[in-house]
């Protein structure tokens, strides 16, 4: 049983399965209605999405379950392989190469776990439109938009996205001059305040308020401008980015260590070129 769960063969077929699912998702996103379903998955935490839309969107739900299942198998496979084979070999041979190989997989497991956690924990609300003076309840706080300052061309807000993108150049649109002042209130007391603009969100503990766009409000003079916000609360984001960075770093170390390695001499068990791992 252990040898089955830690085998390279299982890893191969799981990865190929995921590959098929990802390629099918690329094809699915070329159909407008299915692409819209995928877009709605970004509006909230996936667990909530499945509970709300799972029955009405069976195709994408089945796809999502397939991805989760294969990711879980890959996680188990990597964990088994790391402990029963890579760690054992590292302890036995005590070479930097074996340790670095084990560590790459360890960080990969962490990244995979963070992806899994992100599907079921935290809170998220997308496309929240607020005008100056308006507030919105999120988690245990109130988000108040105090002031909106928009100095860009108003036509950017009314023309189609593709057209406006080509006109919004670095010289034609200064993102730091188009801002919103946000207050975070808890039981009517201000606990945090700050100016947000595109690519510069406001963070308060695990809450993140991100400005995703501006919107012209009702009225003929086009002067009533509001903001579109994404509100999210996740505790693991720093862990995710740290694990991801450490995985890349450990991979770089592994590549450097094995760059000139005469593998034939070191590894008599064959297949060393792409298999520094477990030959199944």
């Amino acid at each position: 049983m252990i040898s089955f769960f830690s085998s390279t063969r299982l890893a191969f077929f799981t990865v190929v399965g995921m590959l098929v699912l990802m390629l099918s998702a690329i094809i699915m996103t070329s159909f407008t209605d299915l692409n819209t379903v995928f877009t709605t998955m970004n509006h909230t935490i996936i667990l909530e999405w499945i509970l709300d839309h799972g029955r009405t969107r069976p195709m994408v739900t089945a796809w999502l379950c397939g991805v989760c299942l294969l990711a879980a198998v890959l996680f188990i496979n990597t964990a088994f392989c790391s402990i029963t084979w890579q760690l054992k070999t590292a302890l036995k041979t005590r070479t930097v190469r074996r340790w670095s190989f084990f560590i790459v997989h360890l960080f990969f497991l962490q990244v995979l776990a963070c992806h899994g956690i992100s599907l079921i924990t935290g809170e998220k609300q997308e496309n929240i439109t607020l005008f100056p003076g308006q507030s919105h309840r999120f988690s245990d706080v109130e988000i108040l938009v105090n002031e909106v300052s928009y100095e860009g061309d108003l036509k950017f807000l009314t023309m189609p996205l593709k057209e406006s993108r080509s006109l919004m150049t670095r010289t034609g649109y200064d993102r730091s001059r188009n801002t919103a002042r946000i207050d975070i209130l808890r039981e009517k007391y201000r606990v945090a305040t700050g100016k947000i603009f595109m690519l510069s969100p406001l963070k308060y503990n695990t809450i993140r308020i991100t400005l995703t766009g501006f919107k012209i409000g009702p009225g003929k003079d086009n002067t009533h401008i509001g903001v579109m916000l994404t509100l999210s609360r996740t505790w693991f984001t720093p862990y995710f980015f740290t694990s991801y960075a450490l995985m890349i770093l450990s991979l770089a170390v592994f590549i450097a260590i094995t760059w000139n390695l005469k593998l034939q001499e070191e590894l008599p068990e064959s297949q060393p070129v792409f298999h520094p791992g477990n030959p199944s």
């Binding site: 996103t29 970004n42 150049t169 670095r170 200064d174 969100p201 991979l251 590549i255 792409f274 298999h275």
Partner: protein, 250 residues
Amino acid sequence: MEVSLPVVIYASLSVLYCLALAAGLFGKKGAAKGLGIAGFWFCAASVAAFIIQEKRLPLFGPFESILMIIFCLGGLGLLSRGLPGSRTAYAMDLWTFVVILVLLGIQTQFPMAFNPDFYMYDNLWVNLFFHLRLVATGTFIHAAILVALGAWIKGRTQDPSAENILHRGRNYLLTGIALFLTSEWSGSLWCLNWLGDSWQWSRGFFRGSVVFLLVMTACHLPRSLYASMAVRSVACSLPGLFCLWMIFFH
């Protein structure tokens, strides 16, 4: 008629690499090598001219992608000059020239122009995401050439240098994925600051995942498949091919 910088770059690169391939095919090894080096340095100068003119790194769009990928291929080709056996190095040069000319051929289907500017191009993470993706693509293609060459030599002769070439191919495949993951990591930070989440369920995310999974597949081939040189070279070529498809046709 005003001749733009992209047209000058395109014409010069085409001429240099056509001549390099022709010299190589006619057995003029010295000339082929010299023209290959000239092509690389011209490409390096073109990238520098691009950066000076556009005040940013090559990021997105067919023309600047082609330019950056050719620059990487030329540079890595020079780095791999020390391959065992002069014939192997020569064959690698020729295949690199062929790939570069194919890329230049693909470019004829797209506008000879740099990609328009965008206000987010002043952000570090945006730059790293797009730029490293191009560098990774160049590295994947170089790995594909090496593995195909190593597999071809191993399949036909008992030359021990084949394993060495295959190992180099593996090195560049892993380097490519390290670069690609760094690009994705930067992209995740960009996504977090832009859309409030470290990733989005979107076509871009699925395509990025496919590249990672293709490299994972190549690195986890079962023994029965691993023994086949054809399977191994196809598996190692797919990440580069998919990246090209992603950049040019999707």
